[in-house]
């Protein structure tokens, strides 16, 4: 048990570094797409450290004070519930703690905490951004749930081990190729999950300055930043285990998550922004229709 905890902590730290690195890399790539030189790929490390060492002197109340803790814990916990490497004794984290349903509901934990802290700060932009985020979540959850339920019902298991086990043995056993329409739905909902650009109205920098963390200053912000980075990595891992057949060693995990990381990035680079109702309508029509093709097929064949 102690070893598991130790390895989980190491994995969390590595995931933090990896997430920050990916963030910096995405900034670099976006700068290149704009034809700029762009910051160094380690810019996010510098930002987090600077925020961490800035003076943190103000708080708006208890929930405001607890919010970064919620956020960080939401990120770390989600990460620790996902196995990194398939049936390795150490690198499968605490995935004995729960299955897919536990994970789907635990993903909300950090967001809820941050939402409460943000809305206690009493800044109208925070509350507006939170309501937008929740509505958008109601949008992209539908195709994601279609994918998850379809895959779970097809393999008749909701454990990560079972789902990865079913995808072993050759690239064609991956759900990405077994159930291509479910995978398309899941990948489209992934865009909303990462708030990449057509669906970026939550943070909309033009209308509501920086979204929920408007009032959060130095170290609060650095905690949230780190939590978001780990959360991003955790979601990459979830999609890797769902669609890309998991990973049998660390290198494979890195490669697959990196590929998944590129997908929302390039969508972000080339799109304008939807209004909220547009994005929710989009999520509730096209990806749902695509996903239902496989979903109905699974429903007919497996029951």
């Amino acid at each position: 048990m102690f070893n598991k905890i130790l390895f989980a902590l190491i994995a969390a730290i590595v995931a933090l570094a990896y997430g920050l690195f990916l963030g910096g890399l995405s900034r670099k790539i976006m700068a290149r797409l704009h034809g700029r030189k762009g910051p160094t790929v380690f810019q996010n490390f510098i930002d987090v450290w600077k925020l961490f060492r800035k003076r943190t002197a103000i708080s708006h109340g208890v929930m405001f004070y607890l919010a970064p803790t919620f956020r960080f814990l939401g990120g770390v916990g989600t990460f620790l519930l996902v196995p990194i490497v398939f049936d390795s004794p150490y690198l499968s984290n605490f995935s004995f703690g729960g299955d897919l349903i536990v994970l789907i509901y635990f993903m909300v934990f950090g967001c809820l905490g941050m939402a409460l802290g943000a809305s206690e700060s009493g800044h109208p932009h925070s509350a507006i951004a939170v309501t937008r985020g929740l509505s958008q979540m109601a949008g992209y959850e539908l195709p994601f749930l279609i994918a998850v339920i379809g895959i779970a019902f097809a393999n008749h298991t909701i454990t990560f081990q079972g789902i990865i086990q079913a995808q072993q043995g050759g690239i064609l056993h991956w759900n990405l190729f077994q159930y291509p329409f479910l995978s398309i739905a899941a990948l489209i909902s992934m865009l909303g999950m990462y708030m990449s650009y057509p669906f970026a109205v939550v943070m909309a920098p033009q209308e509501i300055a920086v979204g929920p963390p408007t009032e959060f200053s130095s170290e609060f912000l650095s905690f949230m930043f780190s939590g978001r980075s780990i959360f991003a990595v955790a979601k990459y891992l979830v999609f890797m285990n769902l669609l890309l057949g998991g990973a049998t060693n660390l290198l494979e995990a890195f490669i697959k998550t990196f590929i998944l990381f590129l997908w929302p990035l390039f969508i972000t680079g080339v799109f304008p922004r939807f209004r909220l109702e547009q994005s929710v309508r989009f999520f509730w029509t096209y990806p749902v229709l695509i996903g239902l093709i496989d979903f109905i097929g699974i429903f007919i064949t497996r029951s």
Binding site: A31, K50, R53, K54, T56, V210, T214
Partner: protein, 191 residues
């Protein structure tokens, strides 16, 4: 734990490891400057080009943020009417230390072409501690980038300590501010 000590400005050379920390911190601060996007005067039109593809301030880690809580740098872009000064002081006091002020153009230095106006202040440093002055009317984005380079140099050398000055001489600054801003009703100063 160590950081609040030299924020309070009581002789950091007492503890030597703190100086090492401070060097590293200053390097980090210098390389990630977040600017609160608050255009006060005619120069505010010179700031947006700074982050466009042509001038690309982001390669120095300079970012625009929408809220003073997260910002490090406050740009006074051009002349300051008294009304604007009130808001600027508010924004500056809402920023978290360490924080720096960059003053663009001749007007904040000596009033510039508004030296005899009835509602434009002449000397900015009576009301706020200024770290970098930038002359010209108006300075182009290249000049602003050079000002940022200067600011980064000063931060690395640990000489950009306007915020410490503000904390120490708060009473004097407050006196000057209240002299020209009648019926002063603002929340207290939070560092």
């Amino acid at each position: 734990m160590a950081d609040n000590k030299h924020f309070l400005n009581d002789k950091p050379e007492k503890l030597t490891y703190a100086r090492v920390w401070e060097k590293f911190d200053n390097w980090a601060r210098a390389n990630s400057l977040w600017v609160v996007a608050y255009g006060t005067g005619c120069g505010s039109i010179e700031i947006p080009p700074m982050v466009t593809s042509r001038f690309d301030a982001e390669r120095f880690g300079v970012n625009m943020v929408g809220t003073p809580r997260q910002a490090d740098v406050l740009i006074i872009s051009g002349y300051l009417a008294v009304k604007t000064l009130k808001r600027v002081i508010r924004v500056y006091e809402q920023m978290q230390s360490p924080k720096y002020v960059v003053a663009l153009g001749a007007c904040p230095i000596n009033g510039g072409m508004y030296f005899d106006s009835y509602n434009t202040i002449n000397l900015l440093d009576k009301y706020l501690p200024v770290d970098v002055w930038l002359t010209g009317c108006m300075p182009r984005p290249e000049a602003i980038l050079s000002a940022f380079a200067d600011l980064m140099k000063r931060i690395k050398e640990g000489r950009a300590d306007g915020w410490k000055k503000y904390i120490d001489n708060l009473g004097e600054y407050r006196k000057n501010q209240e002299k020209i801003i009648k019926n002063w009703k603002m929340p207290n100063y939070n560092w």
